[in-house]
């Protein structure tokens, strides 16, 4: 018999009482909800070590990014343009597309990556990134990250978020909440363990 059959047989032999699947509905109903999602998201991001910036009417997203990261030279962007309220804005501050590199290792040394967020979660500052380029390394290897997120795509909690997300064509997605961090040396919090040291979510 194969290990697979052995294991399944052992599970069946040893399983005693079968418990019913619980219904999440009531919990999801009573889960924390924020009346002002935008205000809450702005408040929670710094707690996670990042920042949230709301793009004002008529403001140029490229100017905002350049203002935040004046020293960034190698800038990757996964999109050519971004929908901002009334219309589209071109993303012109980037210097290359992440899939232009020969191999993922060549993305090392990227100063800033501008990527697309799909859903923002107000209870914890997590933003869902659905893989939309072949080299997903760009989400992690860049020194700093700008996540562009439609301000209408904010939800209160993870229950709501999980109803909206998917992993798409590439079969990969990640919630990112603020910069990479560690406290492995004497519990002192340090930003920038392996991933981005600095994260800004721009709500467009």
């Amino acid at each position: 018999m194969s290990s697979r059959e052995d294991i399944l047989e052992s599970i069946r032999r040893n399983t005693r009482m079968r418990y019913e699947k619980p219904d999440y509905a009531q919990l999801e109903e009573e889960a924390v909800k924020y009346p002002d999602l935008l205000a809450r998201f702005k408040e929670v991001m710094p707690q996670m070590g990042g920042r949230a910036v709301v793009l004002q009417k008529g403001e140029d997203v490229n100017k905002v990014i350049k203002g935040l990261y004046p020293n960034a030279v190698r800038i990757a962007a996964t999109m050519k343009e971004v929908r901002c309220g009334e219309g589209m804005q071109p993303v012109t501050c980037a210097t290359f597309h992440p899939d232009d590199v020969r191999c993922s290792g060549d993305l090392d040394g990227t100063d800033l990556a501008i990527i697309q967020g799909r859903v923002g979660v107000c209870e914890n500052g997590a933003v869902w990134i659905q893989q939309d380029v072949e080299q997903r390394a760009v989400y992690f290897i860049a020194e700093a990250l700008v996540i562009l997120l439609d301000r209408h795509n904010l939800v209160s909690n993870m229950h709501e978020a999980y109803r909206q997300i998917d992993t798409g064509e590439y079969g990969y997605g990640v919630f990112i909440s603020g910069p990479s961090k560690t406290a492995d040396i004497e519990q002192a919090l340090v930003l920038g363990a392996h991933g981005a040291r600095d994260v800004t979510v721009i709500l467009v």
Binding site: S2, S3, R4, I7, S10, I11, N14, T15, R16, M17, Y19, E20, K21, P22, Y24, L27, E30, A31, V32, V44, Q47, M48, S104, D108, E123, N124, Q135, R136, Y139, F140, I141, N157, M158, A161, Y162, R163, T167, Y170, G171, Y172, G173, V174, F175, I176, S177, P179, S180, K181, T182, A183, D184, I185, E186, Q187, V190, G192, A193, H194, G195, A196
Partner: protein, 454 residues
């Protein structure tokens, strides 16, 4: 006291400063957890739900694992089943060997630790690099983790500074945590890029999608799996959850309970292999299916490996991870060790004062202290009866001898008032035998004194 735990604890306590720091730091993490839980009115409901989902999942493992397998195969992954540690290690080795992998980068996995994967691979000539900072430090020091979430909690920055001078060419005498962390970042970047394969564990495996979910703060799992195109993911079968709805429950509890954060920085969902790459998934039993039949201990399979029970345990905080003989320390480790090999690990059951704090914080409601209590009752049957008395009073005595610590345990003592009577008065409880147990007052004399009530 002469259990192996108490002897090892004495060793840990010799360095008074480190011991005090360890105690306070973990208590601070516990306080952060409380702060998080209090922000959510639905907290207790979340814990009940997590427990109910695990009870459902672990009693439907046959169905859920098959559903997972079907979906993972449809996603283009390879799926393997490993009965025990050896089979798991061999599967990993064969995959690596078949792809000529010489550089292999790993993110933290308690399963790999449980099965001795690194030793196995290194014996066969494959270089394994741990990428979680704490794990990497320990690997370079040839030491073992002392906590499941904060593996290097027992190491001082001066030791790390010295290590990095040798290993990463850092400035001698510069022990600044930011400096050292960024040196490791730079050093490990090269390791990620040169690796031919990356491996992760899984916090959750979702039956309805066939995806594996990994939670990290450092981003090391994603740095690894986005460089080489060969990915291996292995999980103990109790990591299975039915659907994404259940992830909504668990991701809200895990980091809040373990480290007092609202969520980990990265919650990664691996569903398909990368374009032109391969994804190999290993489902591991290694004794888990046997636990299903043990109704007194089956709830250990609910464990999310969050570490909260360690952070809160007055004995763990004051005795350190190395004082336990099983590789997982603290309340959950005591129980898992007993399930693995009771005659080998029974010393650990003494490392508990039955304050029940662990089971009051556990996000998946593992009945940790009740289980330890049951093990103590069984010691006689195991033929180690003379130890039973020591085991019974060991944790209490440990605290009694350390007044500062006893103060904490006392604060939590009112919990004992609600223990079932059979737990308080029985053949093993020597204190209950000789006298009616005192009722613990809601407020201890000490607390009242401090508040100037007396």
């Amino acid at each position: 006291m002469s259990t192996r735990h108490s002897k090892a604890a004495e060793l840990f306590l010799k360095d008074k400063d480190l011991a005090a720091w360890h105690d306070e730091t973990l208590w601070m993490v516990r306080a952060k957890r409380d702060n998080q839980s209090k922000q959510l009115p639905e907290w207790e409901h979340l814990r009940d739900m997590a427990c109910a989902i695990k009870m459902y999942s672990n009693s439907h493992l046959d169905q859920l694992l098959l559903e997972f397998e079907k979906n993972a195969l449809a996603n283009g992954a390879h799926v393997y089943w490993a009965k025990d540690a050896e089979e798991y290690c061999s599967i990993v080795y064969n995959i690596l060997h078949g792809h000529n992998v010489r550089h292999f980068i790993k993110s933290k996995s308690m399963l790999a630790e449980e099965c001795g994967l690194n030793e196995f691979l290194e014996e066969k000539g494959i270089e394994v690099v741990e990428s979680d900072l704490g794990e990497r430090i320990l690997q370079l020091m040839h030491k073992k983790p002392s906590h499941i979430v904060m593996p290097a909690i027992h190491i001082k920055k001066e030791e790390i500074g010295e290590l990095f001078v040798k290993e990463m060419n850092t400035e001698p005498g510069n022990n600044d945590q930011t400096y050292l962390t960024h040196a490791a970042r730079k050093n490990l970047r090269h390791k990620f890029i040169e690796a031919e394969a990356a491996m992760t564990g899984a916090n959750f495996a979702v039956a309805s999608t066939g995806e594996c979910v990994v939670c990290t703060n450092e981003g090391n799992a994603d740095m690894g799996t986005s460089q080489p195109k060969l990915q291996i993911t292995a999980f103990g079968m109790e990591k299975i959850v039915p659907d994404r709805g259940s992830l909504g429950v668990f991701t809200r509890l895990l980091a809040r309970s373990g480290t007092g954060q609202a969520i980990t920085t990265y919650t990664s969902h691996y569903r398909k292999p990368r374009p032109g790459g391969e994804l190999h998934i290993i489902i591991v039993d290694n004794g888990r299916s046997r636990i299903l039949a043990d109704k007194e201990h089956v709830k250990t399979l609910n464990c999310l490996r969050c570490g909260a029970c360690m952070n809160t345990c007055p004995v763990y905080r004051r005795s350190g991870g190395y004082s336990y003989t099983y590789f997982i320390p603290g309340p959950i480790g005591i129980n898992l060790g007993m399930l693995k090999a009771p005659l080998h690990y029974y010393d650990n059951v003494s490392a508990c004062s039955l304050c029940h704090s662990c089971q009051n914080v556990c996000p998946a409601k593992v009945d940790l202290a009740d289980q330890i209590y049951r093990w103590r009752q069984k010691l006689e049957d195991l033929g180690v009866a003379s130890t039973s008395k020591k085991a019974m009073s060991g944790g209490m005595k440990f605290l009694m001898e350390r007044p500062g610590l006893f103060g904490f345990a006392l604060k939590n003592a009112p919990i004992a008032n609600s223990l079932p009577r059979w737990m308080m008065y029985n053949d093993l409880n020597d204190w209950g035998k000789e006298h009616e147990m005192p009722k613990f007052a809601r407020e201890s004399f000490n607390e009242m004194w401090k508040k100037k009530k007396v």
